[in-house]
Amino acid sequence: MSTAARFSIEYLQYLGPDGRLVREDLPAFAQDRDTLVGLYKAMAFTRVFDEKSVKLQRTGKLGTYASCLGHEAAHIGIGSAMRTEDVFAPMYREYGAQFLRGVKPREVLLYWGGDERGSDFSGPKHDYAWCVPIATQCLHAAGAALAFKLRNESRVAVSVVGDGGTSKTDFYAAINSAGAYGLPMVAVIVNNQWAISVPRRMQTGAQTLAQKGIAAGLACLQVDGNDVIAVRAGMDIALERARSGGGGTVIEAVTYRLSDHTTADDARRYRDEAEVKEAWAKEPLSRLRSYLTGLGWWSEAEEATWKTESEARVDAEIEAYLAVPPPPVEAMFDSMYAELPADLAAQRARAIAREAR
């Protein structure tokens, strides 16, 4: 037989789990102290936020909440590489990326607290809100990228899905569109090994998730999703490719969900504690901390200060969240259409009257 086509999937990693470099050719941003410390701080802040949010849920002051524990390198790597004018189409746990784009912690809490106003957030007005129907956001990103291409704008749309989300047909539709139209899009897969109780291996027969991009003719890359340098470097390559007209990329960031799926889940029902323990040894914060400490760019004192500062900031955000009064009953109606149809106006009036009783 002759060969019609050949492909390979590259893997990118800079920092090993022990915080040592596995390769020396660091990208420029990773040689810059402020940048790297900034990435670390963002990751550490996100972890503090996450821990406090889970606690808040446990005390009944928040609805179901999806933790991002263990995903910090992936999320910060994504968020730090993007520009404000780019469009972000998240799933639901990428708070780290969103904070870098201006979304406030109180807004995240408001959303999980059952209040639509959380989605009218302080991040870029064009960013998508959290997306519950798995992987549908990928097609919105593709549509956004198509708008950018048609309008000749130098902007990129970035979507995130999970390992589970790569099975969802919308993911395929999105990457296939990106390939068909040559769209400025980066489709990131945050492979945290689990989709609620379903392990990665049961989602697909594919060896890597990055190779899903081959079906769409996209560039594909697998990165260590616990190594923020690798994630950021992969994003930089993909964003640059997209911005310069080179089309879309699928990036698989390999990480691990250290928490339950959400606060409504109990992962002990379906997964081995030993596996989780093993995953802790590869988690993203400690490796970057070791590396920074080794370089003398970070110290225990700075760590303590940053922790205190982060906690105070998060506590203030929680206060702000808790202080938001519930929306009035008419809030249900007021954003349904640009102009309230007559029918609905009558229903609105009745709802208000019922409240008055």
Partner: protein, 326 residues
Amino acid sequence: MAAITLIEALTQAMAWELKHDPSVLILGEDVGVNGGVFRATAGLQQIFGPERVLDTPLDETTIAGLSVGLATQGMRPIAEAQFDGFVYPMLDHLICHAARMRNRTRGRLTCPLVLRVPWGGGIRAPEHHSEANEALFTNVPGLRVVMPSSPQRAYGLLLAAIRDPDPVIFYEPKRIYRQYKEEVPDDGEALPLDVCYVLRDGSDVTLVSWGAQVKETLEAAEALAAEGISAEVIDVATLKPLDFDSIAESVGKTGRCVIVHEAPYTAGFGAEIAARLAEQSMYDLLAPVERVTGYDTHIPLFRLEMKYLPSVARIVAAAKRTLQAS
């Protein structure tokens, strides 16, 4: 000004908006060089270029999802579903996103898209090419559902749909795409999206219909007139939000109502109109409401399809029943 068909009126409306609003674009399967399998977009890619009229990969999920992405980022996509039977893979994006985007984000993101759906049976087409599934969308908050039944209304309502800041499902009765011609001034004048159209005044019975059945309904009114029965004919045209007041006003006058639609009987949109009559016009009704509809079966392949569709005879018989009642 030459008289044009319903489908030509649609083309004319799209051409007008493509010309006057740079954010408008058309996407769908075969809408480009081929001008759509029904030729609704014929010539538009040639005039406005492949960046305004885009062929898509063959996937309805893709068409709907891209449209949501485009609409939320400042474009005004007009998406085409090739046939009514292919809208189902679009529902997730339409219901979960298009219809919800404004409410979800308290108005931060909006979704001004139009989905054009060639609709209904009677053209001897294969399976899945003849569905009347408008009821799918009518229980979904946040959408508008529109269906013209004449060249003039096709032009005015499609313009309005494209300009509307919210998502519109725009059904097109394909059986009457080319049935007759009408003068349709190309003046960019849109029609309102929240009123029913009274096509014929009458005093004995109100006939309510939409889409292709408006033809049979008008013919039935004619036949009834020949027998001395005066039927008022209303084209609902804008199903959602529903202008029930116009219907109630007519029934207030006639006391009788026959609702005609092609979709299956049970839970077709006719049910909503009959239900509102039972709620709001009970004291006006002189006879039970009648529904003349498709059966609760799939529309059969074409050897039998005309036996499935509401006929003039069935409408006339139902109208007479309302007059014999009580």
